[in-house]
Symmetry: C6
Subunit: 80 residues, 6 copies
């Protein structure tokens, strides 16, 4: 098993849409760490991808896909 | 936690399909800010990506994915 | 708020699958305009992306994602 | 309105999974025609994209997204 | 109609998650054949894409999208 | 049939969100092996893609798509 998922949330339940978005960001980054667990390597890559429009758009897309999952898990934070 | 999500909406509920689309655009941009919070860097990137067809199509795709989430959250604004 | 969404539909309801597909095309283009509202810039880009296979496939994909949303909104135009 | 959707299906209902897949292929191609209606231009592009692995994979992905929509529209052709 | 879908499955029902995954792989490949039916051309492309990380990741993504469809068709192989 | 899916899980049920994420990572990698079963080739590719931001983001996206499937299969690990 991949064993670098430290800090993985116990639940997909989030109190607010914003907390859910933060969770989606976290899952996106854990997905990167699943392939590259070495934080030093990731830090060396940051200057490039964080100033590259295509990479920023692609990162936002991964967050959007995870946010679909988190929003469904929280029934879209709909108040009945 | 990523703490640059200022202005995050309190709810995914939107009164109209257009308001929902505006929300999807907002979430797409918040997803970019989650990786690059520095507005100056983003402004320097804008001339390039805003005149690049591939980047414009990719941005539209992120909005489309978030719009799926928002539309489902609002039950597709169906009137019963 | 992004204020270039003129002509945004009032509803996601469409009478036929084809009308729904037209709506998905419209939403895809509004997603591009959300990032680049200047029609002149978009027209200058057209000769390139409209003759580029990768861009045409990517555009078709954005329409496919929006069509998922529109089809679900119209319960897949199933006749009961 | 985009008026090049000649031959658009009247319904998303398909008798079999294979007929549904054919429909997904058709919708993918109509999505390309929505951006580039000129068949001559598309034919000139074909030699390149039909021998390019990345383009073939990307095309298959658009079919996969439309197939999700068609399969849901036909309740996955489940026999009760 | 595209007529190269020989061997298309009669049903999306699969006995196990693994059989469902095999089906998703098959659909992904049929999606490629829908654009390029010539097996010789596909074989000539294989040495390149099968040793290209980006192409391998993109292929895995198409399988993932089809697997969503197959898993939903089989109600996630949940035992009640 | 593709016969390199050794170690494919018997079920999509996972006890926790983290276990589900591990399963999504596994499925993503099995999707790569479906196209390139030769572990030696994959190992030779690793130094490149594991230090390439675009490839890392794309890998994270495949995990995100599979995680949607696994989360739905486990009803989002919601406690009733």
């Amino acid at each position: 098993m991949t064993d670098m998922l430290s800090g993985f949330p116990d639940s997909l339940v989030a109190p607010t849409p914003e907390a859910g978005f933060q969770l989606a960001i976290k899952l996106s980054r854990l997905g990167v760490k699943a392939t590259q667990p070495d934080a030093e390597v990731l830090n060396r890559l940051r200057p490039k991808y964080s100033r590259d429009a295509d990479a920023l758009i692609a990162s936002s897309q991964v967050v959007a896909i995870h946010y679909q999952t988190i929003a469904a898990a929280n029934d879209y934070w709909r108040e009945f």
